[in-house]
């Protein structure tokens, strides 16, 4: 199965990565190559096989529901490209 320009545009949008119109054809080509490689999996009989969810069969540990960390506003904001008054600042999202 090959990826056309419209699909490439859609996937770029879903991925929130800006791709210029002129670059979509090349992108579609490369994605098609990767997808073609994945197509081999269609040869495998997977009837009755459960999808693998965990590398090692294990039950996730539970921890006591208490505060173990926190109150580190300055550290959390330190690497932000734009932080103001104790918040992450972003372009306006609601009118």
């Amino acid at each position: 199965m090959s990826i056309d320009i419209d699909t490439a545009r859609k996937v770029a949008k879903l991925s929130r990565i800006r791709v210029e119109e002129g670059d979509l054809l090349a992108l579609a080509d490369k994605l098609s190559s990767i997808l073609g490689f994945m197509e081999q999996l269609k040869e495998v009989d997977v009837t009755g096989v459960e999808p693998m969810t965990s590398v090692t069969p294990m039950r996730l540990k539970r921890r006591v529901d208490v505060v173990t960390d926190g109150d580190q506003q300055a550290a959390v904001l330190k690497n932000a490209p734009d932080a103001r008054e104790g918040f992450f600042a972003v372009p306006k999202v609601v009118e």
Partner: protein, 492 residues
């Protein structure tokens, strides 16, 4: 011999006897590191931190009972968060990022007295097999046989190059599809990917969380055993880290593998396998047979589907993990035009910050997870993954103690020679390594010989889950029998 060329084991012994100080050892490495800029292995140097840690290590050594890693200078792959030190995962999207926290692996190393020389080059977000997707430009293999510059492999290419060139005694690496073992093989050093869950992933920039595992890259099997002992163990901050006791890996290196069963998977004998690789593999079998092991033909029937399975699952997980790079909390944010909203901020930031291979994998992952394709690709890959794991389980259940295979399908290739037109060409580098990541198994790459061009070739041993100690003992036998002592001639 200058102290930077030593192994961890010999430096540890010399430090404990007072024959060298951690400061002297560190100075030797800092000098080698600065003289090694032509390799582009170290991308952020931390000489002041290193000397502070070395002085503290000397005090601790003088007081006695210091751990094995005390005073040992190491390099850290750029994927590990080191507090206050740039941590970019080889990506422009994390330019300027200095974590306010420490990864568990590096915290354990510093806690054991190890010395941080700096951060090491890698493929962007660990996605690559040649180090060429790095935002710093590629690290260069210290091995050189003609005018070409060769890849050190990837993604832990800077780690492998730095250890092979004696810029440090050892380095941390991570392995999602072969990223410790392939560069180790290309540079003629040892590298182990532990069992999934043996080493905490906390503070390691995530690529594909069900496959990622950190491990040591060293000059010998003994060093790998020592360093693995220092970084392994349960971590409450990583819910997938196993709550199991960490054995004394070094003590397991007895050199006795008499009566062990070594599996030789017939599916790994690929069509068109270079004669030199096949011959090396045969020599490895002879070495283990001479040591008293029994060589057994085994079948891992789903091997050929491991790479396509990986290239569904890893990008799918990456597309989710890398969603966090949105220009809000850390790293790069694109300059916005008048009227741009938050969607434009995301899209421009990610287009500018991610390199082409990372963008492709995010988009491929997004595609296989999108409505209508989830079952056809992602779920099918997870089912095939279960079958790949079952192949190994059946081999081990039949009595196999360890599996011997090549590490890579070739020796190191020239920078710029692969994957330019078709990304899949580069993916084929992982053909022998990726199966273990899918099955969660430990694997170790050991340098065994040189090819006709004079470049290192390695063999890989694959072990039972949680039995790294036994696996390392097998690797130790291989190492001693191979007697690989070649070093790259210094040109840099």
């Amino acid at each position: 011999m200058s102290a930077n060329t030593w192994t961890i084991a010999s430096a540890r012994d010399a430090l404990r006897k007072g024959e060298v100080t951690a400061v002297d050892l560190t100075m030797a490495c800092l000098t080698a590191m600065d003289a090694g800029d032509g390799l582009n292995a170290f991308v952020h140097k931390t000489p002041e931190l290193a000397l502070d840690q070395a002085r503290a290590a000397d005090a601790r050594l003088a007081a006695g009972a210091a751990p094995a890693m005390c005073g040992i200078p190491v390099g850290v792959k750029d994927l590990f968060a080191v507090k206050g030190v740039p941590t970019q995962a080889g990506s422009n999207i994390l330019r300027g990022f200095k974590p306010e926290y420490e990864s568990t692996v590096t915290a354990k190393l510093w806690g054991a007295g190890a010395v941080c020389l700096g951060k090491l080059n890698m493929d962007e977000f660990a996605m690559g097999s040649s180090n060429e997707s790095s935002c710093y430009g590629p690290a260069v293999n210290p091995w050189k046989v003609d005018e070409r510059k060769l890849t050190p492999g990837g993604s832990s290419g800077g780690s492998a190059a730095a250890v092979a060139a004696d810029l440090c005694l050892a380095a941390t690496g991570t392995d999602t599809g072969g990223s410790i073992r392939q560069p180790a093989a290309f540079c003629g050093i040892t590298g182990i990917k532990p069992t999934y869950g043996r080493v905490s992933r906390w503070g390691v920039v995530a690529y594909a969380s069900s496959l990622d595992q950190a491990g040591p890259m060293t000059k010998s099997v003994r060093d790998a055993a020592i360093m693995l002992g220092a970084i392994a163990g349960h971590d409450p901050k990583d819910s997938t880290s196993a709550d199991l006791a960490v054995p004394d890996f070094e003590a397991a290196l007895t050199g006795d593998i008499r009566g062990k069963w070594i599996g030789i998977p017939r599916e790994y004998r690929l069509d068109g396998m270079p004669a030199e690789i096949a011959a090396l593999w045969d020599r490895g079998m002879d070495m283990l047979r001479d040591a008293g092991a029994q060589i057994v033909d085994i079948s891992l029937p789903h091997t050929k589907f491991a790479l396509p399975t990986y290239y569904v699952i890893a990008p799918a997980e990456a597309s989710s993990n890398l969603a966090r790079y949105d220009g809000v909390r850390y790293g790069h944010r694109a300059k916005l035009a008048q009227g741009d909203g938050i969607t434009e901020m995301y899209e421009k930031t990610r287009a500018e910050g991610f390199g082409p291979e990372v963008q492709r994998r995010i988009m491929a992952g997004t595609y296989v997870l999108s409505a209508g394709f989830y079952d056809a690709y992602y779920n099918r890959a997870r089912k095939v993954r279960a079958l790949i794991k079952r192949d190994f389980e059946q081999a081990f259940a039949a009595g196999i103690d360890a599996i011997l295979a090549p590490t890579t399908p070739s020796s190191a290739f020239g920078l710029g020679e692969q994957g330019g037109a078709d990304p899949v060409e580069m993916y084929l580098n992982d053909v022998f390594t990726v199966t273990l990541n899918l099955a969660g198994l430990p694997g170790v790459a050991v340098p065994v010989g040189l090819d006709s061009k004079g470049l290192p070739l390695g063999l890989q041993m694959i072990g039972r889950p949680w039995e790294e100690a036994d696996l390392l003992n097998h690797a130790y036998v291989l190492e001693r029998a191979a007697g690989f002592v070649a070093k790259p001639a210094k040109w840099w």
